[in-house]
Symmetry: C2
Subunit: 252 residues, 2 copies
């Protein structure tokens, strides 16, 4: 089990299916430390295990507690998730801010847990009072209806987002590479010559500007070597087609 990650604590969950879905949501983002407090249908729960397929290890290694007090006893900082105001004076943060704080706390060796309430009613105030701060997902006020697994999913996603360095943008290159400067230049020359032959640059006084715009386009587009080959082939084929007046021509 990863000790450098927050513990997800399900308080009085009802449906086994939702416990299983919560386990899947956690494991989707690499979290595997679950605690379960007084589940309605006992523990272990066969329906939870059935729905957790693939994330069963999260349930296998989950710890069972009789009450919330025992479940948070060893934790240095506890967040409570809730959708509505509770009449308690307490900090309210977004999942994003909460996971920023969690990363910082864990970085100093502290243990952090997040309380999730039962499906319908959520956490009771007596449990929220034990938390250091409240996490509230900023949902549409007209439709604030996240379920248990969705709340676990968004929190786990934010944990992952705060901790895993993801390249901002990658390109999947398949059996090819980007065209280099010379290849792009030669492509530009070829296309320009074919278009010149075809009378594309008309009227002549606009020609220079049109050519520059085209060169800029070949520079701007992220063309691969394979793209360049295809464009060369297209240009050659137009020329063949023009030369062959007897019918559709075929590529060599």
């Amino acid at each position: 089990m990863s000790t450098n990650a927050p513990v997800m604590i399900l308080v009085a969950p009802q449906m086994g299916e939702n416990i299983g879905a919560a386990a899947r949501a956690m494991w989707n983002f690499g979290l595997d430390r679950m605690r379960v407090v007084a589940p309605r249908d006992g523990w272990p729960n066969a329906r939870a295990a059935a729905l957790a397929s693939g994330a069963g290890r999260v349930l296998d290694e989950a710890h069972l507690f009789g009450d919330t007090c025992a479940a948070v006893a060893d934790l240095d900082y506890v967040f409570a998730t809730t959708a509505r105001q509770r009449g308690l004076t307490k900090s309210i943060v977004t999942p994003e801010r909460a996971m920023e704080q969690t990363r910082a706390l864990i970085g100093t060796g502290q243990k952090v847990g997040i309380l999730f309430g039962a499906e319908r009613a959520g956490l009771e105030n007596v449990d929220i009072a034990r938390a250091n701060a409240i996490i509230s997902v900023p949902v549409n006020p007209a439709f604030p209806s996240l379920n248990l697994a969705q709340c676990v999913l968004l929190t786990s996603y934010e944990w992952q987002r705060q901790t895993v360095q993801v390249a901002p943008e990658t390109v999947e290159l398949v059996k090819t590479r980007f065209a280099n400067g010379l290849e792009r230049e030669k492509l530009g020359d070829h296309i320009e010559q074919r278009l010149e032959d075809a009378g594309f640059f008309f009227p002549p006084d606009k020609g220079a500007h049109m050519k520059q715009s085209l060169r800029n386009m070949w520079g701007r587009l992220p063309l691969t070597f394979a793209d360049v080959q295809i464009l060369h082939g297209m240009m050659r084929q137009f020329a063949r087609w023009k030369d062959d007046v007897s019918g559709p021509s075929k590529p060599e």
Copy 2:
């Protein structure tokens, strides 16, 4: 319908329940523009409507298309969501980066759509080839099993996160206010005097440092006026308890 938000396009969805869950996920974060391409069980779908309860308007206003080509015809920029590499040369971005780009594109008056594939197989390559870029949620490589509604949820969440300004941290204050400087000072005085009476500051040469630590604590804690009243009451009660040797005393 909000014209300044992305369109969520479900391609060949199978289970009505998942269409309904996707509608709920969208509306949780204020998105209401859904397009449905060739749903397996026809349209409208009673099971989708049943599960969408509360977000039924998203389905009522959804547009039906026969193929993906028609569904994206009026869109200026299209993202395709996929969990695995597809053998296509195309930019891959996180949901966060995609929604940043979407906000920027919509800000210049462009229309943006996001393609979501069917439950098991996801999008077909022919549909992904039509997209300008790919969104890939950076899930746990050992368990990359997001379902349709979860993928819609995370994307909608990111859209909301990019567009709605949320205060980084708020405090819900219930029928009270934070204690002001004078109130905190008087509380410090009171507690210090009671502790002095009780012989708390021992040995005497450590007393000054202990007092400073306590003053610092009252300064650091975000005490409300109500908290201060409670602490004053506690101090008074200890004194009463000490004075009354005949049994447990009662508050006045």
